[in-house]
Amino acid sequence: MLIGLFCATYSLWGASRLTPALMLDNASVIFALIWVVGAACAVGAAWQAKYHRFAALILLGGAGLVTVVTFVWFSAPDLAVTQLLVEIVTTVLLLLGLRWLPKRREEISGDALLRSRIRRRVDLVIALCCGGGIALISYIVMTMAPGNLASDWFLEHAYAEGGGTNVVNVILVDFRGFDTFGEIAVLAIVGLTVFALLRRFRPAMESNEMTEQQRWQNAYDDAQDGRERGDTVRDYLLVPGVIMQWMFPVIMVLAAQLFFRGHDLPGGGFAAGVALAIAFLLQYLAADVTWIEDRLRILPVRWIGFGLLVAVGTGMGSWMFGYPFMTTYSQYVRVPLIGDVPAASALIFDLGVFATVVGAVVLMLIAIAHQSLRWSRARSAAEEKEDE
């Protein structure tokens, strides 16, 4: 951790003092330092994942951020935006899962036995072989001269035939639209599977009890005069909570911006969908689940259904004009005050992608988050029965 911190400070401190003439030489030094941090995070996550799950999760996020920086560095702004947003939802997802895992003590019976030691050594060798092999392959390919004619075709035809200047987005929603349709179908199926599995979810008995923090909070509230149970939870992180609630419209606008610029500039349906899902998620984090659900009813399954229908409908629309499935049409429409807005039929397809991503991400995260609520309800019902 200390080495990673030191390298991060050094790379940032060095960056501000760079002169443009030295940029070429120093750029690779900075990049190397960034990857020292990335490697430290990856190895640290591998090291800590057994006993210190939270630390491993944070280190995993560090490795993800280094990946984002790499995407930015090597001219992939679309990937960087999407990876950064997905990073946020992955971390929240795993944090929600932590509560249901068993407590882990430093010693496990049989952990120091010869057999497990040998096994760990063997696994280490296998892992090092895999890593070394893939590093070698990627180095060889990266240093070979590029000879890809297919991407030249995409670059030459993206604007003329797809009507968008962001080639990555044009490939996704136009040239390879059918693939993307398959992807969002997978996403929808996974979302529904998670939802269905969690409806019948029976967590282990030991995780059903109140967490230690909840017990402290209740004990504190009981001990003080004029406080009811739950007051501490309500006051907890009040200021960040208010800021998160006020961020809601701002993130909505950001999602809309990402969506509409997607065809010409970095952004698009995937990134916008995850951004809107984060907006909903922040509301859940900022306030009580029951409070938020009284005011905001998100129906993720309908979002998914709507998204898939829009995507299929856009694809079938081209039949009416005698073209094959998912042929797109594009032009610019002049909107007063805003200017020329790209209005390709691919944009409607992207709307389908957007809605499916929002629905699937929100469905998965809310389904996991609801487990705690469900079990605390079951617990208080059981307590009431005992009191009678």
Binding site: W35, A49, V86, T90, A158, N166, V167, V168, T193
Partner: protein
């Protein structure tokens, strides 16, 4: 640059592979996330590394394909990022459910004797 990134990919894949072979469910999830970073960067690097050549075209004039980086690996990785989130979520839920059924977070469903 190429050397640094390939070493980075190697370390991500090595840590991920090590964790995937561990017996506890949380280790496997973290391992899969690390592996997905490594694989995404690997696919992305197949388009060769170019700085300041984002595939955003100018609106007018001739298009010179050599002035831009390869967009195909980027398009592949973009969907892979979202799909890998979905598989992580599915995997987490399957492991939580399996822990509920078996009472342990060992991937085999029972502690090794």
């Amino acid at each position: 640059m190429e050397l640094i990134l390939s070493l980075g990919i190697g370390i991500l894949v090595a840590s991920g592979t090590w964790l995937v072979m561990r017996p506890r469910s949380f280790q496997v999830i973290v391992g899969l996330c690390l592996l997905s970073y490594g694989v995404n960067l690997f696919i992305f690097s197949m388009g060769r590394l170019r700085t300041a050549a984002a595939p955003i075209l100018p609106k007018s004039g001739e298009i010179d394909p050599t002035a831009f980086t390869d967009p195909i690996p980027q398009a592949l990785v973009l969907t892979a990022i979202v799909i890998s989130f979905a598989t992580t979520a599915l995997f987490l839920v399957v492991l939580l459910a399996s822990r509920g059924f078996t009472g342990t977070d060992h991937v085999d469903g029972k502690e090794r004797q």
